[in-house]
Symmetry: C2
Subunit: 326 residues, 2 copies
């Protein structure tokens, strides 16, 4: 089966060149990228669906999605809703992707809120953080659903048979946390998932849990703290090394080790995050995605279609519908 | 003037040896540590106030503080309330320190909630994160007060004349964030402080703002994400280097640069965090504090007394009392 991937050619800081290049890289017998971009875009032979408008990063998500139905982002999302593509990838505005996906792809029945599932490059192996930014305010029952979605993601995409689910909080003891986490903790205890209790953000890069559940505000803060710290430290180390001859020589010698570390921690390895809970699969790539990040995001999207993540999610979530209040 | 610092000799994972050693290191003509510990503790000549009980890290904060009034932690806190010491330092349970301080030292009139102010070792120089864990749930008016407290801390302790205040959120645009941050944003705009808007956690180690304001849940998650990432990366780099001869040689050469970096990022440099908003100054040290961390925490506490942080806070905060609703 060939997976048709709608790609927003104008999404992200390095569009359209790096997007087109990434789509070309990902193109294979199993993956057919379709670019959504302006007339005349050089796609190097990939199919182009013309879309005249563009949504900028700082446009208001909901308003721009409604005002610009023929933007590259909205057209690419609509292609999934209309069955013209199996999945969609954009490095454009996360808010606009969320708004367009809610409007056109729509939620799986029973899902309160879609959640963003990001793969963390933890030491013990990849783990998933959900929600990493779709919902700034969440309720306990939303966190319960994120846990179920994250578990399905971990099983189908990370190939973990019985993923351990942790709740991000500010102490490992059951009674530590905000009212939201205390209430979510109680729901997770009854969920039937392998819930291992609260987990702290200091263990995120260690990989103490396979799935880390949190609200979108906290998840986004934690994710960006990780990314920022990784970048600041690697940059600081580079500057330290460049400040002396001894450091420069040492820097040459440690280059393979440092590169190995950098590659493991590189967010481009996965390239994108799933927006879960929709009737179709949407992947949000980092705003400054390179061709490598885009091609990996497209492969990630195709893998989600191959593993029928949406179907499995739809099949398992509704049974929780009765027990959860919206 | 000599600052009398009450030190909880049984607080923290490495008590009492490292606590006593740190107190000895900090002892000077300007700083007089007083140890609160069990009878017979070898204090190497420092004054000892006998306290028979101990509060463990996993004891319930409020219950243990009430049940163990003669614990080392509570007695040390009470010494400040009773005027027998000018400030108190403990590496014991943060929750117990908060509970004991609220009960005995009590809040400055007009302060809704005390906040924990932590110094971050940012690239552009130290900055302060408040609240980093005292209140898991906060309201917008609490964040406004944290901003004022943080500004006073930045001026008096970090010696920044006109500190830039940022609100930790998940996007720099004014309209990005949770309902809590949106409401706090509006209050901060009217605060008279140099409020520079929302700031993201990816900039925490860069030092984009001098004071980063947030609720205790988010602040704690961000702080631990920083600490965990720093440790994981430096450990991973060390492991990478040890895995080959070339790496080992390079590792030897980069040792001074790596040590420099590690020192800058070391939480022990400040050793402790202020609990602000009380009628006396309390400093909470890291649970696994070494003697160096403890001696720095004691110096930090003494500096706060020298600069009359409590008096300045009390003098400035009440004028906001009328405009804020509890």
């Amino acid at each position: 089966m060939t997976v048709r991937v709608a790609v927003d050619a104008l999404g992200g800081d390095r569009a359209p060149d790096e997007i087109v290049a990434g789509a070309l890289d990902a193109s294979s017998p199993g993956i057919a990228p379709i670019l959504f971009g302006p007339a005349g875009l050089d796609t190097h032979g990939l199919p182009l669906v013309e879309a005249p408008d563009v949504i900028e990063m700082d446009d208001h998500p909901v308003e721009s999605v409604r005002a610009l139905p023929d933007s590259t982002l909205v057209r690419a999302v609509r292609a999934v809703a209309d069955g013209e593509a199996d999945t969609v990838v954009s490095a454009g505005s996360t808010g606009a992707m969320l708004a367009a996906s809610l409007l056109h792809i729509r939620r799986v029945p029973g899902v309160h809120r879609p959640g963003i599932a990001v793969v963390l490059p933890a030491r013990k192996g990849p783990s998933v953080l959900i929600d990493s930014g779709a919902n700034a305010d969440a309720r306990p029952e939303h966190l319960l659903q994120f846990a179920h979605m994250g578990a399905i993601f971990a099983r189908e995409i990370l190939e973990l048979t019985d993923p351990a689910i942790g709740l991000l909080s500010i102490g490992e003891e059951d009674e530590k946390g905000s009212q939201l986490t205390l209430d979510a903790h109680a729901l997770l205890r009854e969920s039937g998932l392998r819930f291992v209790g609260n987990t702290e953000s200091r263990g995120l890069l260690e990989g103490e849990c396979d799935v880390v559940v949190t609200d979108g505000f906290t998840g986004n803060v934690a994710l960006k703290a990780l990314e920022g710290t990784i970048r600041t430290i690697l940059d600081a180390l580079r500057r330290e090394l460049e400040s002396s001859f001894r450091g420069k020589l040492g820097g040459l010698l440690i280059r393979p080790a440092a590169r190995h570390l950098r590659e493991r921690l590189d967010p481009e390895t996965y390239g994108g995050a799933y927006l879960l809970g929709l009737r179709g699969l949407a992947v949000i790539a980092h705003g400054n995605s390179s061709r490598r990040a885009i091609s990996n995001a497209i492969r990630l999207a195709a893998r989600g279609v191959d593993h029928d993540v949406v179907g499995r999610l739809a099949a398992r979530l509704p049974e929780r519908r009765a027990s959860a209040t919206v």
